[in-house]
C-alpha cells in the first residue's frame, strides 16, 4: 500500500506563545478532522510533526493518520527561531522515513512539506545552505505559511513552491488555513497514476498566495 508522507514544520518560538500556538492547535485539529473524512487520505496519509524554536523537536515521527494523535505544543518564553536547523533535521527524517521505489520495495508517493512560521529564521546562514537540500528531497510541493505581520515572505520564497500569508493568528484563521492544507493533501492523495500536478485547490479568502 502506497503511503503519502506529509511533513509539518511548525514554529514554536517565543512569539508564538499564548494565543497563536493555541490557535495553531485548533487549526491542526481541524485539519486532522477534515483529513479523516477523506477515505483516500485515511488509507494513505502519514504525518510527521516537527517543531522548531531554539530546539528542534520531532514531536511525531511519520505515523499513519489513523493512529496520529496531536501532542502538546510547547513554546519557550523567548529565544531564536532555528528554521535552518529544523530543515536539516527534516532532511534526515525524510531520508530515513520516506520509502523510495526499488524492485523489491513499493515506494511512497512524493512527500509534501508544510512550513509555518511567524518570523524570520535566526540561523540565516544554515537556512540558506539547507534550502537546496530540501528542494532535492523529492517533495511534490512545499508550502510555506508566513503567519502574522512580522513574517517575511521573501525569505521563504527560495524554499517554497507556494508562500501564503495569514493576516491574523487567531483560531478561526488557522482553522481555515489548515482546512485548505487538508484539501491540498487530499488532492495529492487522489493524484494516482502520475506525479502530483501541483495545481493547488483554490485558497480561502484569509489565505493570501504570494505571487
Amino acid at each position: 500500500m502506497r503511503r503519502l508522507p506529509i511533513y509539518l514544520l511548525m514554529d514554536t518560538s517565543g512569539s508564538m506563545r499564548g494565543e497563536p500556538i493555541e490557535a495553531v492547535k485548533v487549526g491542526l485539529q481541524a485539519m486532522l478532522t477534515s483529513l479523516r473524512q477523506d477515505p483516500q487520505a485515511l488509507e494513505t496519509v502519514h504525518l510527521s510533526l516537527i517543531t522548531f524554536d531554539k530546539d528542534i523537536k520531532v514531536l511525531v515521527p511519520l505515523s499513519p493518520l489513523e493512529l496520529f494523535k496531536l501532542p502538546v505544543l510547547e513554546t519557550p518564553d523567548s529565544g531564536p527561531t532555528h528554521l535552518g536547523a529544523a530543515l536539516e533535521e527534516l532532511c534526515h527524517r525524510v531520508d530515513s522515513e520516506v520509502l523510495r521505489s526499488t524492485p523489491d520495495v513499493k515506494g511512497d508517493w512524493m512527500p509534501m512539506l508544510f512550513v509555518l512560521t511567524d518570523g524570520s529564521p535566526s540561523d540565516k546562514m544554515a537556512y540558506r545552505e539547507v534550502i537546496p537540500k530540501v528542494r532535492s528531497r523529492g517533495f511534490s510541493t512545499i508550502i510555506a505559511c508566513a503567519a502574522g505581520s512580522k513574517a517575511k515572505t521573501d525569505e521563504l520564497q527560495p524554499l517554497a513552491d507556494t508562500v501564503v500569508t495569514l493576516d491574523t493568528m487567531d483560531a478561526g484563521t488557522f482553522a481555515t488555513y489548515f482546512k485548505w492544507v487538508s484539501a491540498t493533501i487530499g488532492s495529492g492523495s487522489n493524484s494516482v497514476g502520475s506525479a502530483f500536478s501541483a495545481t493547488l485547490p483554490a485558497p480561502p479568502p484569509e489565505v493570501h498566495v504570494v505571487v
Binding site: 500500500m1 479523516r36 477515505p39 521505489s101 524492485p103 512524493m110 497514476g193 502520475s194
Partner: protein, 496 residues
C-alpha cells in the same frame, strides 16, 4: 455539556463532604475545554487552603484514624483540591467498524504536594462518562482500565474519568479529568460514487468488458473505474482492446492507463488502444508472416542467436511501429482538438501471441507501469514487460513522452518475447491490478505470487464455455484493497 453530580458537591445536599472540601461549588459541567495540557488550571477560585480545624469538623475522608490523631500527624501544608490532580493516560485512536482493545494504567500526572511521597498515593478510577454512547465498553480495576468493543460513531468523543486519590496521611479526594477518544470513520463507509459532469467532453462508461473466442484461444478482458475516480466524480482513464486475425492466427491484447493528472487521458488511452488494430493486421501478414514463422520454428524452445535476432528485428519493426502509429493517433487527436499532447498521457502495453507447431509465441511492447506476462501452472511466470518507474509511486513513462522514442536501444529494451509449449495464460494488466496483487516488480516475476494470483482469479470462469466470463471478470475487478483504488484493467488469453 451534561451536568453530572460528583458526590460531594453542594448540590448533593445531606451527604458529608468527601474530598478535601476543594469542591467549593464548582459545577461538574465546568469542563476545562481550553485547558492546556500539562498545566493544571483551576478555574475561578484558586485552590483554597482548608484550615485543619475545618476539616476536623466535617469529618472528611475515609481515613480510619481518629481526628485527634490525624491532627497531630497532618503536615501544615495546603490541602490539595480535586482540581489540582490530573490524570496521565492516553488512549489509542479507534478504527471505526473494527474491534477495539486497549488496556491502560492510569496514573496521576503530578503529585501536587511537595514533600509528600508520590508512591503512597493510591489512584482508583471510579467511573467513565461518555463512553456508553459510543457503544464501547469498559472494565475498571483500581487504576487499570480496559476499553473494548466495536463502534462506528466517528468523531472526537470527550470522556470524563472520575477518580479518587487516596493517601495514608490525607483524606481521599475525588476528582475528574477529561480525555478525548478519537474514533476514525471506517474508510469503507466514506467512499462515494459520483457521476462526472455531463458537460465534460469524451465521456467514458465506468465499466467495459469483452469476450472473444477464436479457434485457438478464449480472450476475456474487463476494465473498471476505480473508487478514487468514483469519489472524485471523474472518469475511468483505463482502456483496452482485443483482437484476432483469422488469416494469420495472430491474437493481440492492448491495455492502457491514462495519467491521473492529465485531464483528457481517458481519451488518450482509448485512441491509443483503438489505433493498433489496422497496423497490426498489416504486420501479421507481412513482417510477422512466413519468414517470421520460419525463424520461430528454428528458434524453437532453445533459442539460437541468429533466429533470435531475426525475431527481435521483426518485432522492433512491427510492435515498435504499431506503438508509434498509436502515438501519432494521439498526437492527431490533440492537434484536432487544439489541446496539448500532454493532456492525453497514457501508458501503453501491447501484446501479441500465436500458436505455432513448436509452441505458443508471445511478445510484448510496453511503456509505463502495469505488466504483461506468460503464466504457466507448471513452470511459473515469464514476464514480458519491465515497468517504467521512478523513485516514488506514480512516476512512470507515457506513450506520449518524447524521451521514450529517442533511441532504438530504448525502444528495443521495451520488447520481449518467449516461445513455450506450456502456457496457461497470457495476461496483461494496468497498475490498478498489479499494485494490489503483486506490489513490486520483483513479485511480478515470482512464480509463487502468480500461483496465488491465479488461484484468486479462480472464481472467474475464464474457460470458453462460460458466456458470463466477461461479466464475472468485471465483478472480480471490484475487489477491496486498502490504499489501492486506481482504475483496473485486466486482459487474459487462455489457449484452448
Amino acid at each position: 455539556m451534561t451536568h453530572k453530580l460528583i458526590p460531594g458537591t453542594p448540590e448533593d445536599a445531606g451527604e458529608p463532604l468527601k474530598g478535601g472540601g476543594g469542591e467549593t461549588g464548582r459545577q461538574a459541567s465546568e469542563v476545562d475545554a481550553d485547558r492546556i495540557d500539562g498545566q493544571a488550571i483551576i478555574d475561578g477560585a484558586t485552590a483554597p487552603t482548608i484550615p485543619i480545624r475545618e476539616r476536623d469538623n466535617n469529618q472528611v475522608g475515609h481515613s480510619a484514624k481518629n481526628p485527634a490523631a490525624e491532627q497531630s500527624l497532618r503536615p501544615a501544608v495546603p490541602v490539595p483540591t480535586a482540581g489540582s490532580y490530573r490524570l496521565s493516560l492516553s488512549l489509542p485512536n479507534v478504527a471505526g467498524g473494527k474491534p477495539y482493545e486497549a488496556s491502560i494504567r492510569a496514573c496521576l500526572k503530578s503529585p501536587p504536594i511537595a514533600g509528600l511521597e508520590a508512591s503512597r498515593y493510591r489512584l482508583t478510577i471510579l467511573s467513565i462518562d461518555g463512553l456508553a454512547e459510543t457503544g464501547l465498553h469498559h472494565d475498571i480495576d483500581g487504576d487499570f482500565i480496559r476499553i473494548h468493543g466495536t463502534t462506528t460513531l466517528a468523531g472526537d468523543h470527550r470522556l470524563r474519568f472520575f477518580f479518587r486519590v487516596g493517601h495514608p496521611d490525607l483524606p481521599s479526594i475525588d476528582g475528574h479529568d477529561d480525555l478525548t477518544l478519537t474514533v476514525n470513520p471506517d474508510p469503507r463507509s466514506l467512499w462515494k460514487e459520483i457521476e462526472p459532469d455531463p458537460k465534460l467532453p469524451f465521456h467514458k462508461p465506468h465499466t467495459a468488458s469483452q469476450r472473444l473466442l477464436t479457434p485457438d484461444a478464449s480472450l476475456v478482458a474487463a476494465s473498471r473505474r476505480g473508487r478514487s475516480h468514483a469519489h472524485e466524480g471523474s472518469f475511468r482513464d483505463d482502456d483496452f482492446a482485443l483482437g484476432y486475425d483469422k488469416l494469420s492466427g495472430w491474437h493481440y491484447m492492448v491495455v492502457a492507463d491514462g495519467a491521473g493528472s492529465a485531464k483528457l487521458s481517458r481519451r488518450g488511452s482509448k485512441v491509443a488502444s483503438e489505433a493498433v488494430r489496422e497496423p497490426l493486421l498489416a504486420h501479421f501478414s507481412s513482417s510477422l508472416g512466413a519468414d517470421f514463422t520460419a525463424a520461430v520454428l528454428r528458434h524453437g524452445l532453445d533459442g539460437d542467436m541468429a533466429s533470435g535476432q531475426i525475431i527481435r528485428t521483426a518485432l522492433y519493426n512491427s510492435l515498435g511501429a504499431v506503438a508509434l502509429v498509436a502515438r501519432k493517433a494521439v498526437e492527431g487527436e490533440a492537434a484536432a482538438n487544439a489541446t496539448k499532447l500532454r493532456d492525453y498521457s497514457t501508458t501503453f502495453l501491447l501484446s501479441v501471441c500465436r500458436r505455432f507447431d513448436v509452441g505458443w509465441f508471445a511478445a510484448a511492447f510496453t511503456i509505463g507501469d502495469g505488466g504483461v506476462a506468460i503464466y504457466s501452472k507448471n513452470r511459473g511466470v515469464t514476464p514480458l514487460s519491465r515497468a517504467d518507474s521512478g523513485e516514488f509511486a506514480g512516476q512512470t513513462r507515457f506513450l506520449t513522452m518524447a524521451e521514450v522514442w529517442q533511441d532504438s536501444n530504448g525502444i528495443n529494451d521495451r520488447i520481449d518475447f518467449t516461445v513455450t509449449p506450456d502456457i496457461t495464460a497470457l495476461v496483461a494488466m494496468t497498475d490498478g491490478v498489479s499494485d494490489p496483487k503483486f506490489e513490486t516488480d520483483a513479485k511480478f516475476a515470482e512464480a509463487n505470487c502468480w500461483h496465488a494470483f491465479w488461484k484468486e482469479l479462480g472464481t472467474v470462469g475464464l474457460e470458453p464455455g462460460n458466456e458470463k466470463a466477461a461479466d464475472e471478470l468485471l465483478d472480480w475487478l471490484g475487489f477491496w484493497s486498502v490504499g489501492n483504488h486506481d482504475d483496473r484493467t485486466l486482459a487474459v488469453l487462455l489457449p484452448t
